[in-house]
């Protein structure tokens, strides 16, 4: 089971009223390479992978939910006090029509989340390579999001999330080495 901790993994500060940025951030909320997709992808792959790498999938999958909460916090803060007119100007008119200010699992273009974004082949190598690719794509998305805001506080939280993608990719690459080579001796290259 999971237990909730009443804190964010990393502080999220938003210093600029910018609902347009909230719209773009939704790419990492309900987008193909977003945090929801990541969490669901890894946690689902856990069941059909060698025991030696289950821990990596389990723990990175869990951390992704903390990242999803950080993105949600950004979107929440950026839209919380926005007027309907501001939301319309930000391109969130269609979102408002369907959801008011509720967050929804869709991408920056408003396309709803689908399980078709994620894969589970049951082949350890294929699944881990998908995971590595997902981390690199999420890293790239964070770069473009950092490019799109001049709020240094928001950039700071996004840079944290971008770096996590790099660490996760490192662990998945190590997981590939572990399933390639079942020796338990030290692997020091």
């Amino acid at each position: 089971m999971w237990v909730y901790e009443k804190k964010l993994q990393y502080p999220v500060r938003v210093s600029k009223c910018d609902p347009t940025m909230a719209k773009y951030l939704l790419e990492q909320y309900g987008g193909a390479d977003g945090e929801l997709a990541a969490a669901l992808r890894y946690l689902n792959q856990r069941y059909t992978i060698p025991d030696k790498v289950i821990g990596v999938l389990n723990d990175i999958g869990t951390e992704e939910f903390a990242h999803l909460e950080m993105i949600a916090t950004m979107v929440y803060k950026l839209t919380k006090d926005a007027t309907v007119e501001q939301l319309e100007c930000a391109g969130l008119g269609a979102h408002y029509a369907a959801h008011d200010k509720a967050l929804f699992y869709n991408n920056a273009s408003g396309v709803p989340f689908t399980a078709a974004y994620i894969q589970a082949k049951g082949d350890p190598l294929a699944d881990l390579y998908e995971d590595i690719a997902a981390e690199e794509k999420a890293r790239a998305t964070y770069q473009w999001l950092i490019d799109m805001t001049d709020d240094v506080d928001l950039q700071d939280s996004l840079k944290f999330l971008r770096e996590r993608e790099i660490v996760h990719a490192t662990r998945f690459r190590e997981a590939v080495e572990i399933i390639k080579d079942d020796r338990t001796q030290k692997r020091i290259f």
Binding site: K7, V12, I178
Partner: protein, 107 residues
């Protein structure tokens, strides 16, 4: 949305700001929270590392040491601002403190 509320029934004058509910959030809240975030982040990072390096004794020791260090930090925070975890992983005063604001995305 607040601008659509009938001002005869609800006016800003008789509405308490939400920040007045629950434990008061002060500068110390953020400082203590960040101390926990610092240690917990290192624990996450070491945990992922140890998932692929289970035989690294020094890192296991560092992990256990940090797990010890987080205990007093969490205790201090919870005494002032209420439980950090639900489902019995933290004690509660009366009335039940867990559902009280603020939630992480609100602060």
């Amino acid at each position: 949305m607040s601008e659509n509320l009938n001002p005869e029934h609800v006016s800003p004058a008789n509405m308490k700001p939400e920040t007045q509910k629950g434990a008061a959030i002060d500068q110390r809240y953020y400082e203590l929270l960040e101390k926990i975030q610092v240690v917990d982040f290192a624990l996450v990072e070491l945990n992922l590392y140890l998932d692929t390096h289970p035989d690294d004794l020094k890192s296991v020791e560092q992990y256990n040491r940090l797990a010890q260090e987080r205990i007093p930090l969490v205790r201090q925070f919870q005494e002032l601002y209420g439980p950090l975890m639900n489902f019995g992983h933290a004690y509660s005063r009366f009335p039940f403190e867990w559902p009280q604001a603020p939630w992480p995305w609100q602060v």
